[in-house]
């Protein structure tokens, strides 16, 4: 415990030091992360948990921290990804040196990591909410790094409002829980009226995690933030919502069947709608942000499967569902972090994040392209990488449950299977678009000519994350052995051999992956042998006889996604602005598409407009005269006095 708190202390101190010298902040952060990883690894390897409780003079509050298997599991991506993104961010932010305050940015970065660690180990509601609020505030300042741009300021504002709305629900939930048990320590909570508490938790934590329709801040905040901050937020911070939901499940008692149904429904809508909106985007980072929504949907599907398993008493279902969801938390941190860092490298090199202007970058930035490709294949859930392993666990649980259970459990599981299949296909389509248009083909804009590979400090984190994706994919049976302690806490069942029926399939999958790699090598050699001594020439791409093909004649990203968008048009509602050429001869014309977020347009904009209108009617209360305000105060005091004394 002390090691962990020591690491938090280093984070805070180096954050303060960063105000003076930014590099000190980064160095301190990396040191703290390395130190901080020791305790969680020890706990997950079979060590006992630790706890520490100090009294506080805050009413109902206590400095109560505990490190159990669930916290340890979430601490590993926190420390790992923070260190890597900090190393990356050092070189990335160099372009802003002198223009924006780097020191302040690193101060908030360190505080963000420290607050995330505290969220994960806090066991008192006051401590938890304090750390949660600190997390929201520090990330707000990180998002508005480029605050001279109006769109960044707007995005930050949206994020702050959404975050506080979610926290309000959490506050309500903790108050209800505390009222029943008289204390705000997690281990003293007694769940009464668990259904309402569960709903409050889903809304409150779901806002942070990015469940549909509370996700509206994600596509605004993540593109506006600097890329290393986006990577950290997408990779780790939104998982704090998942952690909160899991922790709440642990003190809410046995779940009824409808909780699983609700999470499956949320997972399906977040997953499918998230990937559809991702397909419609042509801003690279906004596309990646919507993919975060989609992957949170997949995690929610896994959680739903697990809850269905606990409700129906089917242990394999519970174990596989939760195992898949937890593993996907780590996997998503790896490949989403990798993808955002890659996008950052592209932006750093070309100065634009508009996909329709990019192209052909694979020749100028081969390492970035290779790691981005690994991230893209991983996020599409394709073997032999890590995304497939976590999705396979969820599939295996769903299939096992659908085959052996009755309709109330089987129907949502069938929805999970169909949903995961559709999400997988659409995600592969979206990343074929993202990788293909950005890195392959010919450059679509002159700016591409100046693109260069980023420096070593930016390439190293990407390479390490890519290696992580490959390793988890190839070492899946061993990785899965880490999960039983966490699962035992979540499901309150002894899961010593609960994952046994997943280990054999995973081993054979790894065997197949190894075979695949051997075959690739073999076919490469075969082709080398066949082509040796034969004519191998290069020429232009087949152009069907056109005299002067230009790079702008290539397929664009919007065209690539158009058949799918047309199919789902009632849902996506892309707006088109088309200026057609008039007359007979070719002229300049333009086509612009914009896809506003459906939840924002259909739910939140009318809601806030309604609230604004209602509050506008109360404007007569504010007359501007001091006498009236004093009258209001006096009246209120009078009313309170009468009420209390009567």
């Amino acid at each position: 415990m002390f090691l962990l708190l020591f690491a938090v202390g280093i984070l805070v101190l180096s954050g303060l030091a960063a105000l003076w010298r930014p590099r000190l902040g980064i160095g301190g952060l990396v040191t703290a992360c390395v130190i901080g990883l020791v305790s969680p690894v020890r706990v997950l390897a079979g060590g006992a948990g630790e706890s520490l409780r100090l009294a506080w003079n805050v009413p109902y509050g206590a400095f109560f921290v505990q490190l159990d298997a669930l916290s340890a599991f979430f601490l590993i991506p926190i420390f790992g990804l923070s260190a890597l993104t900090a190393i990356y961010g050092d070189e990335y932010l160099a372009a802003w040196r002198g223009k924006n305050s780097l020191g302040a940015s690193w101060f908030f970065f360190n505080l963000l990591v420290a607050s995330m660690v505290m969220v994960v180990v806090a066991r008192n509601a006051i401590l938890f909410l304090t750390a949660w609020e600190l997390m929201a505030l520090t990330s707000f300042f990180l998002v508005t790094f480029e605050d001279e741009t109006e769109s960044v300021r707007d995005a930050g504002w949206t994020y702050l409002v959404a975050s506080h709305l979610g926290t309000a629900f959490l506050l309500a939930m903790f108050i209800l829980l505390g009222r029943q048990s008289g204390s705000l320590d997690f281990n003293r909570f007694a769940p009464v009226n668990a259904g309402a508490l569960f709903l409050l938790a889903v809304v409150g934590f779901g806002t942070k995690a990015g469940f549909m329709p509370f996700h509206v801040w994600l596509p605004e905040a993540h593109p506006a933030a600097p890329s290393h901050v986006s990577a950290l937020m997408s990779g780790v911070m939104i998982k704090m919502g998942i952690y909160g939901l899991l922790r709440t499940l642990m003190f809410l008692g046995p779940p009824p069947l409808w909780w699983g149904w609700l999470l499956v429904a949320i997972g399906l809508s977040s997953g499918v709608l998230g990937v559809l909106f991702a397909l419609a985007q042509h801003d690279l980072k906004r596309l990646l942000a919507y993919h975060s929504v989609e992957n949170i949907g997949i995690i929610a599907l896994g959680l739903g499967v697990g809850l269905l398993g606990i409700s129906s008493g089917s242990m394999p279902l519970a174990v596989l569902g939760f195992a898949g969801a937890l593993l996907h938390v780590v996997n998503h941190a790896l490949f989403k972090g990798l993808l955002f860092l890659g996008a950052g490298a592209v932006i750093h090199a070309t100065g634009t994040q508009e996909i329709e202007h990019l192209g052909g970058l694979s020749k100028r930035m081969p390492w970035t392209a290779a790691t981005f490709l690994i991230g893209a294949v991983a996020i599409s859930g394709l073997p032999p990488l890590n995304g497939f392993v976590s999705e396979f666990l969820i599939y295996l649980g769903s299939y096992a449950g659908a085959v052996h259970n009755d309709a109330p459990v089987a129907i949502p599981l069938l929805g999970v299977i169909a949903g995961l299949a559709l999400i997988g296909g659409l995600a592969a389509a979206c990343f074929a678009k993202a990788f293909g248009i950005v890195f392959l083909g010919e450059p679509r804009h002159d700016r591409m000519a100046q693109a260069r590979e980023p420096g070593l400090m930016m390439r190293l984190p990407m390479a390490l994350l890519a290696a992580g994706c490959v390793l988890i994919g190839l070492l899946a049976p061993f990785v899965v052995k880490v999960l039983p302690p966490v699962l035992a806490e979540l499901t309150r069942l002894s899961v010593a051999d609960g994952l046994a029926d997943a280990v054999r399939p995973l081993t054979l999958i790894v065997f197949g992956s190894a075979g695949f790699i051997v075959l690739v090598g073999g076919l490469l050699c075969l082709r080398c042998v066949l082509l040796a001594g034969r004519a191998v020439e290069t020429t232009v791409t087949w152009d069907c006889g056109y005299g002067r093909p230009t790079p702008r004649m290539q397929y664009t990203a919007s065209s690539f996604a158009q058949p799918l968008m047309e199919l789902f048009a009632p849902v996506v509602r892309t707006r088109r602005k088309f200026v057609a050429p008039t007359g007979i001869f070719p002229q300049a014309s333009s086509l612009a598409t914009e896809t506003p977020d459906m939840a924002r347009e259909a739910v939140f904009r009318p809601l806030f407009a309604g609230i604004g209108w209602t509050l506008g009617r109360l404007r007569w209360l504010q007359q501007g005269r001091i006498q009236l305000y004093v009258l209001y105060i006096a009246l209120t005091l009078l009313v309170l006095l009468i009420w209390k004394l009567a």
């Binding site: 309709a407 129907i411 199919l567 009632p570």
Partner: protein, 212 residues
Amino acid sequence: MNADVILILLVLTNLRLLGASRLGASIRTVAVQGVLLGALALLAHHNHLTVAVLVVALGGMTLKGVVFPWLLFRALRAAEVEREVEPFVGAIPSLLAGVAALGASLWLTARLPLPEPSHSSLLVAVALFSMFVGLFLIITRKKAISQVLGFLVMENGIYAFGVGLVVDSPLLVELGVLLDVFVAVFIMGIIIFHISRESDHIDTHKLSSLRD
């Protein structure tokens, strides 16, 4: 076992109606449905085939499989409309709604207190499903002919319901339903002809302009 095959074919015809885009195909599908229902009635009574049962069943098959399509095609030709279904809700959302309705019908059937649950549960579910599909077609299709077809499908559902559940005097039910449907189609055919003569189309959506 054979009853199951006929029932599944009925489900398939309903799905075909939901996804169809041409009126001719829809009319023919409803005709096939009628023939299938006649076969179902014969199967239900295969223990005690009397002349009356045979007459009613074969008569029903002829009416629904031959006469009604002929009447409807005649109305189509007389009205000289384009042979395309014009839906408010497209083919793919209709199909997905159909799948959801099938699941809901099965769930509802499990909850209904049926006299012989194991024997007739699929039949009742398919009957409910047909009723839903008929209603859906009436609500979501613009052309008057589509609404006649929707009505026919609903009647088919009620008929199937009767075949499955009414044991005492099934013939009476079947005769009543047949008469009902015959009159309805006859009258609707005449009305469609007159509507098209007056306003050059059979789009019920535009009929609301009559009130102005």
